[in-house]
Symmetry: C2
Subunit: 247 residues, 2 copies
């Protein structure tokens, strides 16, 4: 399955490129294009920063100009933090990636451009895009670094593509107890508490109802119900052995 292409325009720092590769790999992106990297290519320190995602760097393509880098793309997004005075649609990452997902399902090749560390993308570069993607950051601290911007786009891509699964679940694996087993437990619990003189007069019903609500949240299994019953029995037996109620 095709995934969006990440295009870095005149990136400068080895660490940023490496961390971009890693952020891409974290969320299943693999195609990286670099336009006129500044201060040399390849860059020392890039592979270390990529932390195992060096396959993304190895497959990365370098272009002299942006038009060359995006020539084959059918759909192009431009990430910017600032207003550009252009009448382009401005989308948050989730909406943009939902759109990217639809386009990719239609066999379009989609790219997302990220700009220079300090000045971002130039207006002429933004104007090559179908739409702008911007991040819903706090106005007081709006500045994301390059790899973080790529990370958020990759994360939203994975969600939009329906690939966002928890890598594991922790849910109870046995079946939940049947309603019959639960009701029977509730009745046993309430009778036991009543015999122990627990309920204040006229409050039994509301206290019991609240307890039942909380117990429902426990998603008790049949085994849990048996454990609970056993604990109630033991407590009641223990109390009978000490008729004065002392522990």
């Amino acid at each position: 399955m095709s995934v969006p292409v990440v295009i870095l325009v005149e990136p400068q720092l080895a660490e940023n490129i490496g961390m971009t590769a890693r952020a891409m790999a974290n969320f299943g992106l693999s195609e990286l294009r670099l336009v006129a990297p500044r201060n040399g290519w390849p860059k020392k320190g890039m592979r270390e920063a990529a932390s195992g995602a060096t396959h993304v760097l190895d497959a990365a393509k370098v272009y002299a100009t942006l038009p060359e880098a995006v020539a084959d793309l059918n759909v192009l997004f431009a990430t910017t933090a600032r207003e550009r005075g252009q009448m382009k649609r401005v989308l948050l990452p989730d909406v943009a990636m939902a759109e990217a997902n639809v386009r990719i399902a239609n066999s379009d090749k989609v790219g997302v451009m990220f700009g220079r560390e300090r000045i971002g993308l130039l207006n002429d570069e933004v104007s090559l895009a179908d739409a702008i993607v911007t991040f819903p950051v706090s106005e007081e601290f709006p500045s994301l670094n390059l790899a973080q911007a790529v990370l958020l786009v990759g994360y939203e891509w994975r969600r939009a593509a329906g690939l966002a699964q928890a890598p594991f679940t922790g849910e109870i694996r046995a079946q939940q107890a049947t309603r019959e087993a639960l009701l029977s437990l509730f009745e046993t619990l309430e009778a036991t508490l009543a015999r122990a003189g627990f309920y204040p007069p006229e409050k039994r019903e509301s206290i019991a109802r609240n307890m039942r609500d909380r117990l429902h949240r426990m998603s008790l299994t049949e085994q849990d119900v048996r454990t609970f019953r056993g604990a109630l029995k033991a407590l009641e037996r223990g109390a009978r052995r000490r008729p004065d109620g002392a522990a």
Copy 2:
């Protein structure tokens, strides 16, 4: 408005703590708690890595133990990357932060725990939580760094809390042209093209319909419609001056 508390358990690297503070500030989180930071506190290099978000560091509270750090919280999430063999609910960040949003609206104090750089959280620490939060990363590259995990949680918090606004919009500010103006333009365009002999026989209707669909997508304003009309007129006049059709 209350926001989730970020709890770092035994964080080690100054850069990670600083970048965590910055990631928090990016998405409007402000309350940072550190449990037994390793290798000294405060840490050199932390403030530089926080890149302007030093207010988060200045307000951060340090605790000797985790139970002390989370004592006042009503709801607690634990971020983990690996299965823990615990019967705890496992939630993706969007679901977890949607739940956090509901709880905070109910005046609960919510916290999210992040573990040590290398080994994450211990099982006993996870077990203090109501639920686990895990990230929908690729199984091939599952490892996020601390600040990136905090960034994703902060991002999803902001979305869940309804605060995710694009900081600017690029939409056309004038009203879109009325249907009447558009239909009139379409008719003019089609008549002009017909006079120019553009349409192959029997294909006029389908070509015209497709063009109208594409033009609808342009969200033309009244001014745009006038501009378009002007261009059509100029083209037709230009063609008339050269009756042989040559440019």
